[in-house]
């Protein structure tokens, strides 16, 4: 597009995305320039290539991808844009890695308000800048009304693993400690509180946050004593621990009393018949750490704002059945099972 050609400014305030915004023509170029490049601005995007070129670090890299289809798009504590940045950064960071770059792909429904799209892109840009992880390449598609729900976003992230670190899901060993970085269930309950048919007044904000800073502190304190980390998103802490139990062929024994839950989240769960252990988080991690290093890692986590409520919640045990067991605060024992069925669709 010639820079001199006349073009009508995008009507961000009242305009809507139409099919021409995905057609490859001028309208699409304008949407990308005015909404996305403006919000996510960096050297790579400014070059306008179909790909972003960057130097590859020596050593090991990690790569991850994630799709975001959350409903509603805006929720207390974030929106689909910030979530798409935080979620993918966290998946990279769970390898102990330093996230470097993101890509983003948008599938937008015809008729979607440009103002909302801009708000989402701006939020994404803010989150990426705050995290120091730029979105360096992307794609936009528009589908007919009814073929998507507002906007879906996919992001891919790459990162670099510090030398000597090899976190992996099969590495939990009996005796290892289980450290949780903070309260559980905040994100899921914040989203549910805004669902159309489930509106209730709750002063709960999503915990959506990028955890790579916290992870860097943990790596510095624990190094190779970190066996594996997970961010307990869909399915909650229960799913994260059950996955690790399967992959490491071990069991877990955790204490209900040690798992921090905010009173408002506990109350909402009570009301809705949910178990906070099954409710999604977007700014928490669970780490399996060798026993000798657990205290040092815990101290490092507590020194970070995102880990100030961190706690050792239990330990890895030998168990051929790979059960996640919990001592209830009531005094009895129970299993912490996977969530069965669907608690609430499209939570992230």
């Amino acid at each position: 597009m010639s820079p001199k050609a006349y073009r009508r400014r995008l009507d961000i305030k009242d305009g809507r995305v139409d099919l021409s915004h995905g057609s490859g023509g001028r309208a699409m170029a304008q949407l990308i320039a005015d909404v996305f490049h403006d919000a996510l601005d960096n050297d790579w995007l400014r070059r306008g290539n179909d790909q972003a070129a960057f130097d590859v670090a020596a050593g090991r890299m990690v790569m991850t991808t994630d799709g975001y289809v959350i409903s509603p798009l805006f929720f207390p504590g974030g929106d689909i844009g910030s979530l798409a940045v935080h979620g993918t950064i966290n998946d990279v960071a769970m390898a102990g890695a330093r996230p470097c770059y993101l890509s983003a792909s948008f599938i937008i429904e015809e008729g979607f308000a440009l103002a909302d799209l801009k708000r989402i892109a701006d939020s994404m840009g803010d989150a990426a800048r705050a995290a120091g992880v730029p979105v360096i390449t992307g794609d936009t598609k528009v589908v007919e009304r009814g073929k998507a729900d507002g906007v879906f976003i996919s992001t891919t992230g790459v990162g670099v693993v510090p030398d000597g670190l090899d976190l992996s899901a099969e590495k939990a060993r009996p005796g290892d400690r289980v450290i949780l970085s903070g309260t559980i269930g905040d994100h899921g309950i914040a989203v549910m509180s805004k669902r159309q048919n489930l509106t209730f007044d709750a002063d709960i904000v999503s915990d959506s946050a990028a955890l790579h800073g916290l992870v860097a502190e943990m790596v510095a304190a624990g190094g190779s004593a970190l066996r594996v980390m997970r961010d307990p998103t869909r399915g909650g802490l229960a799913a994260a621990l059950n996955e690790l139990a399967q992959q490491s062929r071990v069991g877990f024994l955790i204490s209900e009393e040690a798992v921090p839950v905010k009173p408002g989240v506990a109350a909402a769960c009570e009301l809705l018949g949910l178990d906070p252990l099954h409710v999604a988080n977007e700014g928490k991690l669970v780490a399996i750490v060798a026993p000798d290093a657990a205290d040092a890692v815990l101290a490092a986590m507590r020194a970070d704002a995102l880990g100030c409520n961190a706690a050792i919640i239990g330990e890895v045990i030998a168990d051929d059945h790979r059960f996640v067991q919990m001592t209830t605060s009531f005094g009895g024992g129970r299993i912490v099972d996977w969530l069965s069925g669907e608690q609430l669709p499209r939570i992230c």
Binding site: N197, L198, E257, P263, A266, A267, E270, G273, H321, F323, Q325, T327, T328, S329, F330, G331, G332, G333, R334, I335, D337, S340, G341
Partner: protein, 379 residues
Amino acid sequence: MKYVDEYRDGRLARALAARIANAADAAGSYHFMEFCGGHTHAISRYGLEDLLPANVRMIHGPGCPVCVLPVGRIDAAIRLAERPEVTLCTYGDVMRVPGSHGTSLLRAKAAGADIRMVYSTLDAVRIAQAEPQREIVFFAIGFETTTPPTALAIRLAAEKRLENFSVFCNHVLTPAAIQNILESPDVRELGRVRIDGFIGPAHVSTVIGTEPYAFFAEEFEKPVVVAGFEPLDVMLAILMLIRQVNEGRHEVENQYVRAVKPQGNAKAKAEVAEIFELRKSFEWRGLGLVPYSGLRLKEAYAQYDAERRFGVEYVAARDNSACECGAILRGVKKPIDCKLFGTVCTPETPMGSCMVSAEGACAAHWTYGRFRDRTRRAS
């Protein structure tokens, strides 16, 4: 959480456990049935088994609304939902209950039926108002606790003159089911199930009160203690039952005094009586046909009765032949006695209804307690 945490206090639980252990006669044993799924869930969720002496055994009763719904009623609901003009509104738990031939409402929905999950009967009324061109059918299930909200929805629909709202009524009555269990050959003649007393319903009793249980206490000489759904409620009720047994008493006692009055909730009962009447009999999964145990809409409200409106024919259907839900609901068998339990029947792929609801005996044991089976059977 105020008014909740107090009833889950671990220190009080240990003290109560010690008193139960003291009260229980070591030479004898105690078999109590908790009728309600809410109690079953609390027992499993808080690991009460670990706090009770070995000679106190809890038998899980049929008081789980989803579990007692017979296959034929699910089939009928699916047929209703498959009608192009119908939107079927239902509580979430029911979605996964297996019907005949591997069907369920969840699968019918995936295949295109308009089935919507609601959290309240009023949501269904709102949908009927918002979408006058659709026939909104509320799939009503549950005991005396969920019946008043259904009655309220029907009254509201009548007040608003909604012509596209109806109810597929499957409401059932607790006392009739308890009587059926006590009269069953398993308990009476064969002695296969020993029941020394009942933990009476919590929420149901807030509506019907404690008076309806007096008959069982007298006629069948079984103590009944109405108890709340919190774990300390259940433990205190167990202690009260043990004392009654030890003293040879069989009375109706109320542990749940903070919510249950002897005469119940007169307003809710009146609301139900205005709209519903007894069916001659109703099929329960596990119990079969139980006389005067189910409700239907009165003639005056016939236009809100989906069975009349759509000419629903009830066709009884068989459970999977290996499924032991029936025997489990009667207390004859435990989940672990079922060949399907934990093999092909899990909460993800339930074969029987006891595996569907979190209140079902099988789902509760699978989800919370199966680690105790290690010594009994390789999982």
